[in-house]
């Protein structure tokens, strides 16, 4: 142990005096503050948008008159750890609306009509497959803090380790060292220790400085954020360890330092620039997804079918209730069954109530039918993600980045499980409506009390009288309608996003730590085998 320490210490001293160490400092100083600042700015901007949207959502819910207007907006809370790792955040939207007609698929980004339900404007693509359409795959994670850490430190680990054996052999130092009572494994672990001594402190300093900066920037740091930072640093260290072992293995296999440097550099290029797009491409090729436009077209057909079914229901109840006057003094209507009427006849109100009692359930049935299509699409997206994940196992950098996304709750899986929560909430909302018989109530579409509904005759009179009113009197009536009492929605279930927890972070990280441990053990085993056989002459 003492000898390992001596070799590690000697290497540490040498590394500190080398140009490589200055490169380490330079790269850390150049890129990391930059990514931290941009990450924080981005987080703050998203947080502002979220707060505004949340205020709008709360206000919308508190200013409803009828239950058909209650379509809660669900706002995705910004993850503070996204400062470190954005994952797919920039590709995703921030909100969803709970609708009767449709299940929420993914967070919505825009409200433009041109945009599809998956939240971004799709380009016109010929054919049936939607390659490059998986927004979970179209990411370049190297621009965030952990991305840059992975990029810089994988390069540095290779730079420090590629000539660990080959350079010593070339300079004849191996002969000198092994003429002393030094075990080859002692030398190997000393070498690894020396590189770790150089690379571990900068990693810890980087994360400490970033945590200090977050406190300075006033970012709320919960327990989960702290544990996330600790886990990220541990993940980075285990990743660097694997990279060091790869570098040393290259050093043992290469016949010259130049050869080792070339191989290390090519490997790094492959890890950073080639494997990520290749794994995405392979995933898309092996498990293609259909064009979402085609799914939307099928959903549109179901919507048309539903429209006619609802029309039939409406006509059936209008007939049964013998509705003669299908008008209201105040009428406001919108999408997803929204209807706010005032000044109705008894027969018309009854027909609408009975229609809603059936039609809104029909909407739910159709949304379930549409969900089958959406779910099929989602499963294909998931399959692509999973395939990409398996392919990325060939690159420790990708494994590191994907785990960082998991820990920071910005990975595709996190978004998918969040959407699962949103869909559960949707179920909860509509169950509330069903349990409280809101679809079957007058309050679903009017603020008028049952006893105030008019007869057909009264309606004719009021209508005629309304025509004779002056503009001022008409405005006064409209104002009266505006000042109607609002709906009490306090009992309506509210969406509570699952907060980040240490257990969840640990659970997300455990697999990768195991992966890195197994990979390290395999590399250590191969490295030991190689080191023992290494020709030191």
């Amino acid at each position: 142990m003492n000898m390992i320490y001596s070799i590690a210490l000697k290497d540490f001293k040498q590394h500190l005096r080398s140009s490589r160490f200055f490169l380490t400092l330079l790269l850390c100083l150049l890129f990391l503050p930059f990514t931290l600042l941009t990450g924080t700015d981005d987080y703050c901007a998203r947080q502002t948008v979220c707060e505004q949207r949340q205020a709008m959502a709360d206000s919308a819910l508190n200013n409803t008159y009828v239950w058909s207007q209650v379509r809660p907006l669900v706002i995705k809370q910004t993850e503070p750890l996204s400062i470190f790792c954005q994952g797919v955040t920039s590709n995703m939207g921030t909100y969803n609306q709970i609708l009767l007609n449709t299940y929420p698929l993914l967070p919505y980004a825009y409200s433009d009509k041109d945009c599809s339900i998956i939240g971004y404007k799709q380009t016109e693509v010929q054919g049936d497959t939607g390659n490059n359409e998986n927004i979970f795959l179209n990411t370049f994670p190297c621009t965030d803090f952990t991305g840059m850490i992975g990029l810089v430190f994988s390069l540095l680990a290779l730079i420090f380790s590629y000539d660990a054996f080959s350079h010593e052999k070339e300079t004849g130092m191996l002969r000198m060292i092994f003429s002393h009572p030094v075990n080859r494994l002692t030398f190997l672990f000393g070498k690894i220790g020396g590189i770790c001594l150089v690379l571990v402190p900068p990693v810890i300093v980087c994360y400490t400085i970033s945590a200090a900066y977050l406190i300075y920037a006033g970012i709320p740091l919960s327990e989960a954020v702290w544990s996330g930072i600790v886990l990220l640093s541990m993940l980075t260290l285990s990743f660097i360890f694997v990279c060091i072992l790869i570098g040393i293995l290259i050093s043992l296999l290469a016949s010259t330092s130049e050869q080792a440097l070339t191989v290390s550099f090519l490997l790094w290029i492959g890890m950073v620039f080639i494997l990520p797009p290749v794994s995405g491409y392979l995933a898309e090729t092996i498990a293609p997804i259909p064009l979402y436009r085609n799914i939307e077209a099928k959903m549109k057909l179901l919507d048309d079918e539903r429209y006619y079914e609802l029309k039939e229901i409406r006509e059936k109840f209008e007939k049964e209730e013998k509705v003669k006057t299908m008008m209201a003094l105040f009428n406001n209507m919108g999408e997803d069954g929204f209807m706010d009427k005032w000044g109705l006849t008894m027969s018309f109100a009854r027909a609408i109530r009975r229609t809603h009692a059936e039609s809104e359930l029909t909407r739910l049935v159709y949304s379930d039918r549409k969900w089958i299509l959406q779910k099929g699409y989602l499963n294909k997206l998931k399959r692509q993600i999973r395939l990409r994940y398996w392919f990325s196992c060939f690159s420790p950098l990708q494994v590191f980045q994907e785990t960082a996304q998991h820990i920071c709750r910005t990975s595709p899986e996190n978004y998918l499980s969040y959407m699962h929560e949103v869909r559960s909430y949707r179920q909860e909302v509509w169950n509330y409506f069903i349990d409280h018989q809101l679809f079957n109530s007058y309050s679903y579409f009017t603020t008028q009390h049952e006893e105030d509904f008019m007869t057909e005759q009264k309606m004719d009179e009021v209508s005629r009288k309304y025509e004779t009113l002056s503009e001022e009197e008409k405005t006064s009536i409209l104002q009266k309608i505006e000042n109607r009492p609002k709906l009490d929605t306090r009992e309506l279930p509210r969406f509570a996003q699952q907060p980040a927890s240490i257990q969840e972070q640990v659970k997300n990280g455990v697999g990768t730590f195991l992966f890195f441990t197994v990979t390290s053990l395999i590399f250590i085993y191969i490295t030991i085998k190689m080191a023992v056989r290494y020709d030191i002459r």
């Binding site: 003492n2 000697k10 300079t171 002969r175 000198m176 092994f178 003429s179 002393h180």
Partner: protein, 237 residues
């Protein structure tokens, strides 16, 4: 005491580098191993150092097998190569300290300074980076390493090559001092002149075999250079 018993090395390509070498170097003896390039001198040293494994036979260092008791054997052995290899970006003292630590020693700075004084290194060079050192100065640091390790056996591979006459003479003086202390010294060289000066025995190697062995009393009365050249030209049986 250094001992080679039927020591043989055949490489993977089939070439025979060393053919049943038998050698016995007593305490306080300086043995010069002579021979042309490729004769098997360095292979012999490599086998004693366990850098390569023998095909058959044994290399013993004070009775310890160089393969089976490698670490124990190396504790009893010092080695100086033709170009003493040191860490360029460490000072002479740091290099000494590092090699001392490899032997499990943690000595005070002053001890290293004394060792360097003993081998004739200037005080101003003690903390200077080795990259600025001449070959002679490196040899001195190498010798300081040997003194620090203080082993009963010393192996040297062409130690005088490239040294100026003064440095070479100083090295020979140091070797004689070490001999006085009872060290067994095996020195591989082409330097017949130095061999004649201080060797107790010389052996001439050719194509992996020891073709001639002479005691000091014998070779002092002979034209060693003539004998050496004759052996080099002789077609092996």
């Amino acid at each position: 005491m250094l001992q080679a018993i039927d020591l043989t090395k055949r490489y993977e390509d089939g070439s025979l580098a060393l053919d049943a070498l038998n050698l016995h170097i007593e305490e306080g003896e300086i043995f010069f191993l002579l021979g042309a390039n490729g004769a098997g001198k360095t292979t012999t040293l490599n086998l004693f150092l366990n850098f390569i494994r023998p095909t058959s036979g044994q290399a013993l260092i004070d009775g310890r097998d160089s393969v089976k008791q490698s670490l124990e054997a190396k504790r009893l052995l010092s080695y100086i190569s033709e170009n003493v290899m040191l860490y360029e970006d460490l000072s002479a003292r740091e290099n000494l300290e590092f090699f001392a630590r490899l032997n499990g020693k943690n000595l005070p700075k002053e001890t290293y300074y004394n060792l360097m004084r003993t081998v004739g290194l200037k005080e101003t060079d003690f903390e200077k980076h080795v990259k600025y050192f001449s070959k002679g100065m490196r040899q001195k640091v190498g010798l300081a390493c040997v003194l620090q390790k203080d082993t009963p056996n010393i192996l040297m591979d062409e130690p005088t090559t490239g040294l100026d006459p003064k440095s070479a003479a100083e090295l020979m003086d140091t070797l004689l001092q070490l001999k006085q202390k009872g060290k067994s010294i095996l020195l591989c060289t082409h330097d017949l002149f130095r061999a004649r000066m201080i060797a107790d025995r010389i052996g001439i190697m050719k194509e992996g075999r020891m073709v001639m062995l002479r005691h000091r009393e014998e070779f002092m009365n002979e034209d060693i250079e003539r004998i050496y050249l004759d052996y080099m030209q002789e077609v092996p049986q």
